[in-house]
Symmetry: C2
Amino acid sequence: MTALVAIDWGSTNCRAFRLGPGGEILEKRANAMGILAVKNANFSGALMDLARDWIDVPVAPPVLMAGMIGSAQGWIEAPYLPIPAGADDIAGHLVIAPDPRREINVVPGLRGSGAAGPDVMRGEETQIVGTGITDGVLCLPGTHSKWAVVEGGRIVRFLTFMTGEVFSLLRRNSILGRLMVDAPHDAPAYARGLVRSQSAGGILHQLFTVRTAGLLEGLSREAAPSFLSGLLIGHEIAAVKDILKPKSATVVGAGALAQNYAIAMSVAGIDTAFVPGEDAAARGLFAIALRAGLVR
Amino acid sequence: MTALVAIDWGSTNCRAFRLGPGGEILEKRANAMGILAVKNANFSGALMDLARDWIDVPVAPPVLMAGMIGSAQGWIEAPYLPIPAGADDIAGHLVIAPDPRREINVVPGLRGSGAAGPDVMRGEETQIVGTGITDGVLCLPGTHSKWAVVEGGRIVRFLTFMTGEVFSLLRRNSILGRLMVDAPHDAPAYARGLVRSQSAGGILHQLFTVRTAGLLEGLSREAAPSFLSGLLIGHEIAAVKDILKPKSATVVGAGALAQNYAIAMSVAGIDTAFVPGEDAAARGLFAIALRAGLVR
């Protein structure tokens, strides 16, 4: 029996989960129909393509979605909820998508004050709920990595860093990228990048040393991506340390990127734990659906 | 009468000057055959395409080149000269390109210690000589902007910032670029960016506020590029102020970018002057050629 169809719908892909009465994942699917790929705003059609057999059934299960599907470019805009906010607050501000045939609920994003101006998240609030962590500092590495402070089950502060996107731009499109080849992660080069990030001149100056380290310090084309990664992640961790001053933090995820964040945090004197990131969105959507009364 | 054929040959274009006995520009030409566009390393052919009628004449004038043509990817590698270095030092380390029919001299680049590791320049040393400034701090805005400290006619320190390239990447290839449209420079938005650069969180965090300022603070798509520019240039100037502590500096150039640098410097309390940047390479090449005895 399907208790909830949970959809994590981002810019570049769509992941669907069929959940049982205890929140267990009965089935999951994904495709590359992120909101940017959906033509003519036919989100209803795209959802049916992925999960019609779960949804169009005699006793239709509730459907709850999170992510960029709730942005101005998505199916319906679910206004950002101000922090502090937890699962109860989020559950109280669901928005219903304009589908004439079904009730499809959408989770709002969150807004707060970063260290330099307003900050927002959309999708990560659901993953954070899904970790089950009610107190602590969480790190969600990614294209736009998020750091969140959770107290009593509510997100009370968060910060976004464009580290992953800046890495990709420099790797793929910059003059530095021409000095690199794809290769397995190089741990010593990554550590060199972390150390380099602590020197003077700021990122815009230090980035040029990716080039000069290749010319004059023997950094290989294979090692250069890891060096660049260390340089950028080192800056992110330094800023977090400066602003949030966490003694410990939990990295959401378990892959190579999560490990690299943990190394950088360790170098910065921040104790690190891990919590699984995979399917955190599904667990979060189930928790929010319970509180919203969509699931009993 | 041609006293010198001076070539400023960079990655993306080639500029040629025919200079008279006093260094005056008699004629100039340019094309888009930067060293990256030259096929099969046929630099000799590319030079002839641009300036054969100046060079293949009964009394052949000396030819002197500067820029990336002297890099490992260019015609011949002219090893980086360590700083301190001035026109005399540079003139003493010219390298001859492997052209069997003509003597073609190439200016070496310079290397020094930046604030975070080794630093190099190639081409800018010639422009700096060409400004005629023998004492002071010079700023050369560009894709990779350079700051140089000149004492007694020698470059004693310099720093590179990848500000221009990072701006282009973010403008053209990032998610932030999708929130922007091309428009005339917006001075108030640029100033907002300068101010934003002074807040906490570092560049990687502050960049995300380009997005949130559009979502929540009324920053228009037209104004966003100027805001981003202010954010990045603000970081560059802050780093320079921190490291070089200049009371005043001279911006090489006179266009919009030079003006914007001057505004950022003024906000940071650095007195600013301008020196023309156009044709500074030609003046520098002439000064170096004089000292090398290529021109009498």
